[in-house]
């Protein structure tokens, strides 16, 4: 136990926790959106994230030609390079997410199979993706390229606002604002919410269920891809097993905030990121996961639907 750390490094921990938490929040959208419409844990989303990090790496190294020793760039070229990485990562992740839906869920759904069957087939897809990337990369961890000079923009009370940290905070917030608007205001967004309320009634209202489900997988894939890009920008390394821990963290974040709910994913992610940072500073990083789960159990005991409740007030098992 080391509480003095909190006193001295509070602003810095807060900043790091926020950046990490918002990355979690983006990944947890991949779980929460799918859970909202299908009531299923999208187990393969962790591998969508993993492939996103490798897509970013591929663009950095093989297309833009950066290595981890190359000269940092600035100005328009930097913006253009980062944007390219982001877009490719998002698109590749969305594509993988759609493939996951086709392979793991669609046929089983058509057969009216039970939920566990879909869970196992999603786990199967997850294993295949992970092992496939493991084969391609020779199971070795890869370090990413550093595109920009991670200079400090400004400092508040010892918290160092570096370029990448600020990016990791601003980008998710923008994505959440856009997504929130999309889900509440547009026709497609409304159809997603309708399906999450009642699939049968949505069908009667003429909503194409399969299209809506594909759409939610695409959205989940896009945000997970954005998270993968941010992860590579901030932490600069990846390996084929990286999805596992990220997946558990993101799913925990989704449950913490209230699964099936946009706001829940957002605040759940932030809460989890802060919790992890402070827990590792105070108790030690080896107890981080234990603290997170103890807090999760406590939250669920007092608020069984998570901090922000489920999107729809229904408790289907």
């Amino acid at each position: 136990m080391n509480f003095s750390v909190v006193a001295t490094e509070f602003p810095s921990l807060l900043l790091q926790g926020l950046a990490l938490g918002l990355i979690y929040a983006l990944v947890s959208l991949g779980y929460t959106m799918v859970y909202g419409v299908l009531r299923l844990i999208n187990f393969a989303n962790s591998e969508v994230f993993m492939i996103g990090t490798f897509a970013t790496l591929y663009v950095q190294v093989n297309i833009l030609g950066f290595t981890n020793t190359s000269e940092p760039i600035r100005g328009f070229r930097l913006v253009y390079s980062l944007a390219l990485c982001l877009v490719v990562s998002m698109l590749v992740s969305a594509l993988v997410a759609v493939l996951v839906e086709l392979v793991a869920y669609r046929r089983l759904r058509a057969k009216g199979a039970n939920r566990l069957a879909s869970l196992i087939s999603a786990i199967g897809v997850s294993i295949v993706l992970m092992e496939w990337v493991g084969l391609l990369t020779g199971s070795r961890p890869r370090s990413g390229a550093r595109l920009m000079e991670k200079s400090s923009l400004f400092e508040i009370g010892g918290a160092n606002f570096r370029v990448d940290t600020v990016l990791a905070i601003v980008l998710p917030v923008i994505i959440f604002l856009v997504l929130n608007r999309f889900v509440t205001k547009t026709r497609l967004g409304k159809s997603i919410r309708a399906v999450s309320m009642s699939e049968e009634n949505s069908k009667l209202m003429g909503i194409n269920i399969n299209r809506v489900i594909t759409l939610t997988f695409i959205i989940g894939g896009l945000t997970t891809g954005a998270a993968a890009f941010l992860f590579m920008t901030v932490y600069e390394n990846t390996t084929f097993t990286i999805g596992f821990n990220m997946g558990i963290a993101a799913f925990t974040a989704a449950v913490l905030g209230g699964i099936g709910n946009l706001r829940g994913a957002f605040y759940g992610g932030i809460a989890l990121g802060l919790l992890e940072q402070f827990a590792s500073a105070i108790i030690g990083s080896e107890w981080k996961a234990v603290t997170v789960f103890v807090v999760l159990v406590l939250v669920l005991l007092f608020k069984p639907n998570g901090l922000f409740g489920e999107a729809v007030q229904q408790t289907r098992t």
Binding site: G124, V290, F293, P304, T317
Partner: protein, 347 residues
């Protein structure tokens, strides 16, 4: 083709079974037990020598993973199959059993037969500790909490002193022999018989439970928890019981596992194993004992058999899971038709 793929061997077998009289049934059961008792010798004959696995010896594979997986899958089936609770951290109970025996034997000189009930007891206690808060929650919340519990047990074992940290506990003694039956590395076959006895006891226990009050209560809870509650079933108590009984089976498996492998370390109890056990249950047929045994046997055996693939082994395993679930979503041997829930608007 689709008729063939959807063929329900479980119902077919149940039809034959119900046509038999009692002596025929007894003979059949004894025959089954005899055949499973002969399994360790199966690889020694010409036509069946293909059973031999490339790396570990066939008899070792028969104990772990196959026997252990069948035992654990049966235990998990009580939780997932009978009362319909999704447990993603079943390995925790296995780990608790294994560590109980490891600590008791290396520090206090207990033997495996003495630690077996203690290991089961600790697993049951942890089942209650986890179950009391977690079982009030529903569906996927339970899944994430059990998942977390599995990870917590592993992390605690990794970080405290008594469990030896990441190195684990070496030098766990084999169980002492009795009536001239020895248990050590030379006699792996005898471990198989311990596991077989435990499996038979578990099957017997599940079958007794299924036809009595707890079995009916679990069935009601699985089909519709609200209705069960309204009909006067004390759902929390019965859910807790299924959780605790499942935990006891896992704990027993853990004790025997520790006394067989002699060295245990935290990385034997990863989340992946929980998932694998769950896959065994679903792959074989949730809720059906024979399906679960078949599923666990296959999923434990296939990775060992295809060890020659080394690098692509897991990839092939993943493909097997996807293809099988797509072809037969209800598993190889689905539960009886009448036990299936008619899910309205199931997805």
């Amino acid at each position: 083709m689709s008729k063939f793929l959807n063929f329900n061997l479980r119902d077919f077998g149940a039809g034959i079974w119900s046509g038999w009289n009692r002596p025929t049934r007894v003979i059949f059961v004894l025959l089954c037990i005899a055949v499973s008792g002969l399994l360790p010798f199966a690889a020694e004959f010409g036509p069946t020598s293909f059973l031999n696995t490339p790396v570990a010896s066939y008899i070792d594979v028969l104990v772990y993973p196959i026997g252990m997986f069948v035992l654990m899958a049966l235990g998990l089936n009580i939780v997932v199959g009978k009362s319909g609770l999704l447990d993603l951290g079943y390995i925790a109970f296995f780990a608790i059993g294994a560590y109980t025996h490891a600590v008791l034997s290396t520090l206090y000189g207990w033997n495996a037969w003495e630690s077996l009930p203690v290991g089961m007891f600790f697993a049951m206690i942890s089942g209650v500790v986890l179950g009391l808060p977690a079982l009030r929650l529903r569906g996927d919340y339970l899944a994430i909490i059990t998942l977390g519990f599995g990870e917590i047990v592993r992390i605690v074992a990794l970080n405290i002193e008594i469990t030896g940290g990441p190195n684990g506990i070496p030098g766990i003694p084999n169980p002492p022999g009795f009536f001239g039956v020895e248990f050590n590395l030379e006699y792996s076959r005898n471990f198989y018989y311990i596991v077989l006895v435990l499996i038979l006891l578990t099957i017997w226990m599940i079958r007794r439970f299924t036809v009595r009050r707890p079995g009916r209560a679990w069935e009601a809870i699985r089909q519709d928890e609200d209705v069960a509650e309204l009909m006067g079933v004390n759902t929390l108590v019965y859910k807790l019981w299924s959780f605790v009984i499942g935990a006891a089976v896992g704990g027993a498996a853990g004790v025997i596992f520790a006394s067989k492998v002699m060295v245990i370390s935290p990385d034997m109890f990863k989340f992946e194993v929980s998932i694998l056990i769950l896959a065994c249950v679903v792959f074989g047929g949730i809720g059906n004992i024979w399906g679960v045994i078949l599923g666990a046997g296959l999923l434990a055996y296939i990775p060992e058999r295809i060890r020659f693939l080394t690098e692509t082994r897991q990839l092939v395993f993943g493909l097997v899971l996807i293809i099988m679930m797509n072809i037969r979503p209800d598993g190889l041997l689905p539960r009886k038709k009448r036990e299936k829930i008619t899910q309205k608007g199931s997805k």
